[in-house]
Symmetry: C2
Amino acid sequence: MTTDQLPTFDPRCPMSTFPVQIGGRWTAMIIQCLDRRPCRFGELRRHLSPVSAKVLSETLQSMEADGYLVRTETAEGVSYALTDLGGSLIPLIRAARTWASEHLDD
Amino acid sequence: MTTDQLPTFDPRCPMSTFPVQIGGRWTAMIIQCLDRRPCRFGELRRHLSPVSAKVLSETLQSMEADGYLVRTETAEGVSYALTDLGGSLIPLIRAARTWASEHLDD
DNA sequence: CGGAATCCCCATGGATACTG
DNA sequence: CAGTATCCATGGGGATTCCG
């Protein structure tokens, strides 16, 4: 019992900002979708329905700004794909899925 | 390529509600604190500073309502402790911590 | 198709003061 | 010590409309 110290809040502690970073309503689900393959905007919109176009657009933009995905404009249209950083969240999201399916049976 | 199906949004899909459940600004950090031992209100308040008393109180109440912790009133005062459900989140939170410390070096 | 613009609501979170 | 009571600012999220 040399130390009974609790972790003190520290703005630079990564965990303290984590909820803010990927706490968005759709962030985790978008990463899940893109895990399989790059997706088009409308494609994401359909599969994440009932998300609105505005919210999806904003979310995608902030995720791109944070380096979680890249937006690519091709001849056939616009496509979104995970970056390495975005992909590195997959195990965590999967763990969250597992936890949720085991404990949140509503 | 029998199925190229993306996961479709489903309100009953556990993952779709996960951000809402533990997406609170302080939820994860409270669980972290209580992992070591039960804590008093003022204790949590100090270590999570700058959280306000109101926000901490509200968060603790909703977490109790969701079954993540229990509030116990003893002779010496009030104490908060993790339930089994709350404790089951520890590995996930630790994984998030690890991920954050490796990728969010701001 | 892939958004941008606009308007709006309200839940989250915070500041301050007060209480048993 | 452990909160409650007010009040308030912010913005995340949504509905609708418009555009190249």
